[in-house]
């Protein structure tokens, strides 16, 4: 066996995914801001012909931020932290290095093809599952490669116990694999219509209510296993490491993990409340959504308690600020979601702007904050340079926090107003308002949302600039920082 003396962790794959996290984050948020502005000012729909309309760009926004930005962030942090918690370097195995690099390049090419096909209008028309079958196949191959790299690393590990983050990454891998395959079972219309249809356009193998149920079993759990599980994996590693405090209760982390795994998969039918799916299934979705508060808060409280006795770090270290706020937003959105899943609340909330409001306090406040904090923590270790500017980091934090607050408050007000107006009836039982009445009332809130988008995007550009300067021209470090990330 070779000597460990000169052995170092190999961050080449983590670096590649870091670059795509920044690239796709910018693209996804840029499109998001544009479509938010289109909702407030509809004339903006006509800037780029068919390619610039809301209906064409909205799936691009969601798919780029989910499969581009978030997954890149998940892969970057995985290839960084998995080596460290398993105490094994990718450089120790040529096979793992090859799989890791192949994973990245296939992912990158697949993502570009995905973006182009959506822009050209190829879509399965299922939310978060718009990619047509050739892109689906590419995604499956990329996913399997990730699994191979993951289990190969686990196979040669020195640290026999799997740290809690690894459990969450494994769950992300298995969960998405199962969900993605089942929801994307489809047949090209060419084969079902005697040659009249198209090879590039497919229809689901399920129909009607069954299709809706499979779709939202997938849709909700894409949030679970894409936006929750791997981000919890990140915070369980990066918050303790950055603060120098071991996780408050390891037992609680295990309990929350199994709780989350059992409960999450049953909650998806809350997307179909008041629809034609069986009533008992709707009730089950509501009940499991409420129960879901426990494992979600178990992790979030565990993170906040990890900072016990060290709260001074919150004022001194902007990265701790990002992570603590991420954890707090996780608590907010995992309380808000179950509230929306209560049938009587859902009667007002369903189909209104409160729903994107909920989604965005989760993703902007929790997912993006955590990924950015993780990449900032990784940068000095990967590039051996200190973080370029603490001041910029602080300014970005406050700008983006204000943006998130503006986003969800405006959407809360807009959503509840909308829900109430749709239901309002006069003394004879006639509806009091037409749809356009609600649009007129909601215009200011849509404008506030577009403004919050501009602010958040500006903050993301500050992040990108700070990262690029850290990689290229920041002061070099002579040794790796143990806990707190150094910054100028």
């Amino acid at each position: 066996m070779q000597s460990n003396a000169a052995l170092e962790y190999d961050y080449s794959v983590a670096k590649l995914f870091t670059y795509t996290t920044i690239l796709f984050g910018f693209l996804g948020m840029l499109i998001g801001t544009l479509i938010a502005a289109q909702l407030a000012f509809p004339d903006l729909n006509y800037l780029l012909g068919e390619y610039g309309t809301f209906s064409r760009l909205r799936p691009l926004h969601t798919n780029i931020v989910i499969f581009g930005f978030t997954l890149s962030g998940v892969f970057a942090t995985f290839y960084y932290s998995a080596q460290r918690v398993l105490k094994v370097s990718m450089a120790e195995s040529k096979f793992i290095m090859f799989i890791g690099k192949l994973h990245f390049w296939l992912y990158f090419v697949g993502a570009l093809i995905g973006v182009i096909t959506l822009l050209l209008g190829y879509t399965q028309a299922k939310e978060y599952a718009q990619f047509e079958w050739p892109v689906d196949i590419a995604i499956v191959i990329v996913w399997v490669l990730w699994g191979v790299a993951m289990f190969a690393l686990i196979g040669i590990r020195r640290e026999k116990a799997l740290y809690i983050s690894m459990w969450y990454y494994i769950a992300c891998f298995l969960g998405v694999a199962m969900l993605y395959l089942f929801n994307n079972m489809s047949v090209p219309t060419y084969f079902t219509s005697g040659g009249v249809g198209s090879i590039m356009h497919s229809v689901s193998m399920y129909s009607g209510t069954n299709d809706a149920l499979v779709q939202w079993w997938y849709g909700h759990n894409a949030v679970a296993f894409g936006f929750t599980v791997p981000i919890v994996a990140m915070i369980y590693y990066f918050l303790p490491k950055e603060s120098g405090q071991a996780v408050y209760s390891y037992k609680l982390s295990l309990l929350s993990f199994w709780g989350l795994m059992f409960v999450y998969l049953w909650a998806g039918s809350h997307h179909l409340l008041w629809s034609t799916v069986p009533d008992w299934m709707q009730t089950m979705g509501s009940v499991f959504s409420i129960v879901l508060i426990l494992p979600s808060w178990g992790s979030a409280i565990n993170m906040l308690l990890t900072m016990k006795g060290e709260w001074n770090q919150l004022t001194e270290n902007p990265l701790i600020k990002f992570m603590v706020l991420a954890s707090t937003f996780y608590m907010l959105s995992t309380l808000e979601g179950p509230i929306q899943a209560i049938k009587s609340v859902n009667a007002i909330a369903h189909f209104t702007d409160w729903i994107p409001g909920h989604v965005h306090d989760g993703v902007l406040g929790w997912v993006v904050f955590m990924i950015m904090a993780a990449l900032f923590h990784m940068a000095p270790r990967m590039f051996k340079r200190e973080i370029y500017s603490k001041k910029l980091l602080e300014a970005q934090f406050w700008l983006q926090t204000t943006a998130v607050v503006l986003y969800f408050t405006s959407m809360w007000i807009a959503g509840i107003t909308q829900g109430m107006m749709w239901r309002a009836v006069d003394e004879y039982g006639n509806l009091m308002y037409s749809f356009i009445d609600t649009v007129t009332v909601l215009h200011p809130y849509y404008a506030i949302r577009a403004l919050s988008g501009v602010m958040y995007l500006t903050g993301f550009l500050m992040f990108a600039y700070n990262m690029i300067k850290t990689m290229s021209s920041s002061r070099e470090l002579t040794e790796e920082p143990q806990f707190r990330s150094p910054m100028a």
Binding site: N4, A5, L7, E8, Y9, Q83, R84, V85, K87, V88, S89, R158, E159, K160, A161, Y163, I164, S165, Y236, Y237, P240, K241, G244, A246, V247, S249, Y250, K251, L254, L255, W258, G259, F262, W280, M284, F483
Partner: protein, 72 residues
């Protein structure tokens, strides 16, 4: 017994079972630590002491540790 009734019973007993499993797991976690079989909290240090050349924190499972000692 029709399918709906069956679903009802299945759902009820499944819930009881899963709640039972959850409580059993909590008791298991605490009891195995009290008996000295496991030290879960030690595993939290894996994130802090994560240099490639640092000694693995490993499990505190005395049986597997003993085996490892013997195999050296």
């Amino acid at each position: 017994m029709d399918i709906r009734e069956l679903q009802g019973y299945a759902s009820f007993f499944m819930t009881i079972l899963l709640v039972g499993v959850l409580y059993w797991y909590i008791i298991y976690l605490y009891r195995s630590e009290k008996k000295g079989e496991k030290d879960y909290e030690k595993l939290g240090n894996i994130a802090l002491d994560d240099e490639i050349d640092s000694t693995p924190i490993n499990t505190s499972d005395p049986v597997s540790d003993e085996k490892k000692e013997r195999n050296k």
